[in-house]
C-alpha cells in the first residue's frame, strides 16, 4: 500500500491541494473556515468531482465518480451531522443498503452477530445491536457510524470534527478507538480545530489555506504549535477596511448585555456597545457567537441575564420587542433566514415595517425602496426585480436597507460577508462603518477573524460559549485571536 495522492488545481474552492495519507496513520487536516477542508472531504467521499487533478488509491489512478465508487474502494466519511436513521436499530443502521438477506428477507441473527463483531472491534461492545439509534448519545452514534464504515471494509476513514460534540472523557475513548483502528492498518483523516487534540492523536498534519496546501504531511511531533498557527493565518487576499472613527468613549451604552446565558450554548456573556461603536465577536464555528447575537435579538429565549437598549430592558425571547426597541439583525443564512427570494426587492426592504396595520402605500413603498437602493448602490437598481436574481453582496445590501428604513439603533450582523465577493465586501464594510458614524451601535460576528479585526473597534474572543478575552481591535492580531481560541487561554484584559 502506497497511500493516496490528490491534486486539484483549477477549482476555486480547492486551488491545487495535495494530500497524501499513508495506511495506518492519523493524518490531521487543518485550516480556518473556508480554507477548503469540507470541499476536500467531499471530493474524497465522491460527492464532488474535481475539475482537475489526480486521485491515486494504492498507487493506481482512480475516478471517484459518486459516493458508491468511494465506498467500494474503502473510503468512508463521517460528516459532522451523522447520516443515521434515528428510528432504526443499531444493526439496521450499520447494514443499511447492504443488508444480510436471502430472498428479500433480512437475516436477523446474522445481522446481529456481524454488528456485535464490529462493535467489539471498536471496543464498544456495550452498545446493543437492537437499540434504537435515536436513543443513543452523540458519542455512541459516532461509534455506530464508524461501525457502518467498517462494515464496508473501509481502509480510509475521514472524521470531520468528531470531538465537537463530545466531552473530554468521550474524546479519550474516541482516541482509543482511533488507535485500535490504525493498529489494524486503517488510515484516518482527522479534522479538528483543537490543536491540542492534533498533538495527541495526529501522526502528520496537512494545513490548508484559501484552497491551497500550505504545508503537506508535516510530522506533528517536530512542528511547534506557533508554526502551525502561522501557516493557518498567513494572509492571501487583502480587504480594504474603512478607517475607524474617533473615540466615543464618553457616550452612554446603547446596547447593554449582562450575564446573558443560553443553556447548552453559552454562559455569562456581558458586553456594552456604545452609539457609533462596532464590537466584533470572533470565534470558530460552534463557539456560540451566532447563538449570542440571536439571543440578544430574542430569536432564542435566554435562560439567564438581560439585554437592554438605551437603558430599557427587553422582554426575553421576543423578536418583535427587540425590533420595536430598535434592534435589527442581518442573519447568518441570508437566503433562508432573511429574504423572501421570490418577492421583489422593494417588498423585502419594507418587510420589517409590516408590523404596523392598515393599507399599503405603494407610492411611498416604492420611493423608500428606490432611495435606499440608490443610497446603498444595489445593482441592478430595479426595485421590482425578484431578490433571488441578485448577487450575494447585493442581497446583503437589501437586508441592510430593511434596517436602515426601520431606522434601527442597534444593528447585529452575523457573517455579513458570507457568499459575498471581494469587491462587494469592501462596500459592505464601508456601509457598516458609515452607519456607525451616524450613531448606530453595531455588533459584528464573523468566522473570518481578519474581518472582525479590520471592521470592529473592540473585539470579544469567544470559544465554547464563553468570552475569553476582550480588547480594542487595534491591539490584537489574527495570530493572537487564534492563539487564544486554540489554546483556550485567558489572557490579561478587562472583562468587556
Amino acid at each position: 500500500m502506497r497511500g493516496i495522492v490528490k491534486l486539484f488545481p483549477g477549482v476555486r474552492a480547492l486551488d491545487g491541494v495535495d494530500l497524501g495519507v499513508r495506511p495506518g496513520e492519523v493524518h490531521c487536516l487543518l485550516g480556518q473556515n473556508g480554507a477548503g477542508k469540507s470541499t476536500l472531504i467531499k471530493v474524497i467521499a465522491g460527492a464532488h468531482r474535481p475539475d482537475a487533478g489526480e486521485i491515486r488509491w494504492r498507487g493506481e489512478a482512480v475516478a471517484l465518480a459518486d459516493p458508491q465508487a468511494a465506498t467500494e474502494l474503502g473510503v468512508a466519511t463521517l460528516p459532522q451531522e451523522l447520516d443515521l436513521v434515528d428510528g432504526l436499530s443499531v444493526a439496521d443502521n450499520i447494514h443499511l443498503g447492504h443488508e444480510h438477506a436471502r430472498f428479500g428477507f433480512t437475516r436477523r441473527g446474522r445481522t446481529a452477530r456481524a454488528t456485535t463483531e464490529l462493535l467489539e472491534r471498536l471496543g464498544h461492545a456495550e452498545i446493543s445491536p437492537s437499540a434504537e439509534v435515536g436513543a443513543l448519545s452523540a458519542a455512541q452514534r459516532q461509534i455506530v457510524s464508524m461501525a457502518r464504515a467498517l462494515s464496508h471494509d473501509a481502509s480510509l476513514l475521514v472524521l470531520d470534527e468528531p470531538s465537537a460534540v463530545l466531552d473530554q472523557r468521550e474524546v479519550e475513548r474516541l482516541f482509543t478507538v482511533i488507535r485500535e483502528l490504525t493498529a489494524q492498518g486503517v488510515a484516518i483523516v482527522y479534522i479538528s480545530h483543537r490543536l491540542e487534540e492534533i498533538r495527541e492523536i495526529g501522526d502528520r498534519v496537512t494545513v490548508l489555506k484559501d484552497g491551497r496546501t500550505v504545508a503537506g504531511g508535516l510530522d506533528v511531533e517536530s512542528t511547534p504549535t506557533p508554526e502551525i498557527i502561522r501557516m493557518m493565518t498567513g494572509r492571501a487576499i487583502e480587504y480594504v477596511f474603512p478607517p475607524r472613527s474617533n473615540k466615543i468613549d464618553d457616550a452612554e451604552p446603547m446596547l447593554e448585555v449582562r450575564e446573558l446565558a443560553l443553556r447548552g450554548a453559552f454562559n455569562g456573556v456581558s458586553f456594552d456597545v456604545k452609539p457609533g461603536e462596532i464590537v466584533g465577536l470572533a470565534g470558530l464555528v460552534g463557539s456560540g457567537r451566532s447563538e449570542i447575537v440571536e439571543t440578544v435579538y430574542g430569536a432564542r429565549k435566554a435562560t439567564g441575564g438581560t439585554v437592554s437598549v438605551d437603558g430599557e430592558p427587553l422582554r426575553p425571547g421576543s423578536v418583535p420587542a427587540a425590533v420595536a426597541a430598535g434592534i435589527g439583525l442581518c442573519p447568518e443564512e441570508r437566503k433562508s433566514q432573511a429574504l423572501v427570494l421570490g418577492d421583489p426587492v422593494s417588498h423585502n426592504i419594507t418587510m420589517a415595517m409590516l408590523d404596523r396595520g392598515g393599507f399599503l402605500d405603494f407610492a411611498a413603498e416604492r420611493a423608500a425602496a428606490e432611495e435606499l437602493v440608490g443610497a446603498l448602490d444595489v445593482r441592478p437598481s430595479d426595485v421590482d426585480r425578484e431578490v433571488r436574481t441578485l448577487s450575494g453582496g447585493n442581497q446583503q445590501k437589501v437586508v441592510l436597507a430593511r434596517w436602515l428604513l426601520r431606522e434601527c439603533r442597534v444593528l447585529l450582523l452575523d457573517e455579513p460577508t458570507r457568499g459575498v465577493d471581494v469587491g462587494a465586501r469592501s462596500e459592505i464594510y464601508a456601509l457598516v462603518r458609515d452607519l456607525a458614524r451616524r450613531g448606530v451601535a453595531v455588533v459584528v460576528v464573523s468566522s473570518e477573524i481578519e474581518e472582525v479585526l479590520g471592521l470592529a473597534d473592540r473585539v470579544l474572543v469567544v470559544a465554547e460559549g464563553r468570552v475569553l478575552h476582550a480588547a480594542p481591535a487595534a491591539e490584537l492580531t489574527e495570530h493572537d485571536v487564534l492563539d487564544i481560541v486554540l489554546r483556550g487561554i485567558v489572557l490579561r484584559g478587562d472583562a468587556a
Partner: protein, 322 residues
C-alpha cells in the same frame, strides 16, 4: 412570478371559463345560455366561493385547512338549533346569523392556536377538526335536519337586489374584501411574507404565530358566512352540509394559481377557479351526465391545472437562471 406571468395566468383561466361556456351553449343551448341559468350558476358558486376566498389566505400563508366542510356543518346545525329552541316572540334571525359566524370563527381559532402555538402540522390539526366538528354537529343535531322557519331570514337572504340574488352579492362582497385585504393592506403583505419564508418573517420582527392564528380565524369566519348562506338556500341546518367542501375549496384555490407551498396567492384566480368548477357541474347536469362523470372530469382538470402551474413556475425559474 412576474406581473406579466400573473396576468397570463388570469387570462388562461378566463379563456378556460369561456371555452366551458361555449361547450355549454353548444350542448345545452337555451337552457345554458339564459339569465336564469347564469344566476343559478352564480348562486351555486357563492357558498363554496366564500369558503375558497378564506382558504386562499390560509394557503397563501403556508397552511392548509381540511376542516372547512365540517365547520360549515357545525355552524349551520348550532345556529338552527338555537333558533328552534328559542321560539320566543322577540327572537330575531340576526342572533342565528351571529351564532353561525361565532361558531365558525371559534373553530378557526382552535385550528389556528393549535397550528401556530401548539406547532402541530396544519394537515393534522384540521384533520382532527374535520372529524371532531362533524361529529359534534351530529350530536347537536341528533342526526335530524333542522328546518329554518324564520321568514324574515329566508326573505332577506333569498331575495334579490336589482335582480342580483343576495347570496351572490354576499359572495361578491367577500371576494372584493378579500382582494383588498390581500393586495392592499399590510395584513395581506404579511400573509405573503409568512407564506414565502416564515423564518425570514419572524426575524424581520413580524408576529408570525399571531398572524397565522388570525388566518385560520378568518377562514373559520368565512365558513360561518357560508353556513348562513347554505341555511338560506336550503332552509335547513344539518350535519351533512358542506360535504367535501375542503376538496372543492382547495381545488379552486390551486387552479386559481395560489401556490400550495405558500407565499403566492390570488383572490381573482380563486374566484375564477370556483366559477370554472361550478360551470362545469352545471354543463354536466344540463346534459344529464351523472355526478360520477363530473367527479372524473374534475379530477382530470385539477391535474392538468397543476401540471400547467408547474410548467409556468419552471419557466419562471429558468428565466432567473439566465
Amino acid at each position: 412570478m412576474s406581473a406579466l406571468a400573473k396576468s397570463n395566468r388570469t387570462l388562461g383561466l378566463v379563456i378556460a371559463l369561456g371555452l366551458l361556456c361555449v361547450v355549454g351553449a353548444a350542448t345545452a343551448g337555451e337552457r345554458f345560455a339564459s339569465l336564469d341559468n347564469l344566476l343559478t350558476v352564480l348562486r351555486l358558486a357563492s357558498v363554496i366561493g366564500v369558503v375558497s376566498v378564506g382558504m386562499t389566505f390560509v394557503i397563501t400563508g403556508g397552511g392548509i385547512d381540511l376542516s372547512v366542510g365540517a365547520i360549515v356543518a357545525l355552524s349551520s346545525v348550532w345556529a338552527t338549533t338555537i333558533a328552534t329552541q328559542s321560539m320566543a316572540e322577540d327572537f330575531h334571525w340576526i342572533v342565528m346569523v351571529g351564532c353561525a359566524l361565532l361558531v365558525g370563527a371559534g373553530c378557526g381559532l382552535v385550528n389556528g392556536l393549535l397550528v401556530a402555538y401548539g406547532k402541530i402540522a396544519p394537515f393534522i390539526v384540521t384533520l382532527a377538526m374535520l372529524a371532531g366538528a362533524r361529529g359534534l354537529a351530529e350530536i347537536i343535531a341528533n342526526r335530524r335536519t333542522q328546518i329554518v322557519r324564520d321568514q324574515g331570514f329566508i326573505e332577506f337572504f333569498g331575495g334579490s337586489v336589482l335582480g342580483i340574488p343576495v347570496l351572490v352579492l354576499v359572495f361578491a362582497l367577500v371576494a372584493a374584501g378579500g382582494w383588498v385585504l390581500l393586495n392592499r393592506t399590510t395584513f395581506g403583505r404579511r400573509t405573503l411574507a409568512i407564506g414565502g419564508n416564515p423564518e425570514a418573517a419572524r426575524l424581520a420582527g413580524l408576529k408570525v404565530a399571531r398572524h397565522t392564528t388570525l388566518l385560520y380565524v378568518l377562514l373559520g369566519l368565512a365558513c360561518g358566512i357560508a353556513a348562513v348562506m347554505l341555511m338560506a338556500r336550503t332552509t335547513t341546518g344539518t350535519s351533512t352540509h358542506g360535504g367535501l367542501y375542503e376538496l372543492d375549496a382547495i381545488a379552486a384555490v390551486v387552479i386559481g394559481g395560489t401556490l400550495l407551498s405558500g407565499g403566492r396567492g390570488t383572490v381573482v384566480g380563486t374566484v375564477l377557479g370556483v366559477l370554472i368548477f361550478t360551470t362545469l357541474t352545471n354543463v354536466f347536469t344540463l346534459n344529464n351526465l351523472d355526478t360520477s362523470t363530473q367527479a372524473v372530469a374534475k379530477g382530470v382538470i385539477i391535474v392538468i391545472a397543476v401540471l400547467l402551474q408547474q410548467r409556468l413556475a419552471n419557466r419562471a425559474g429558468e428565466s432567473h437562471a439566465r
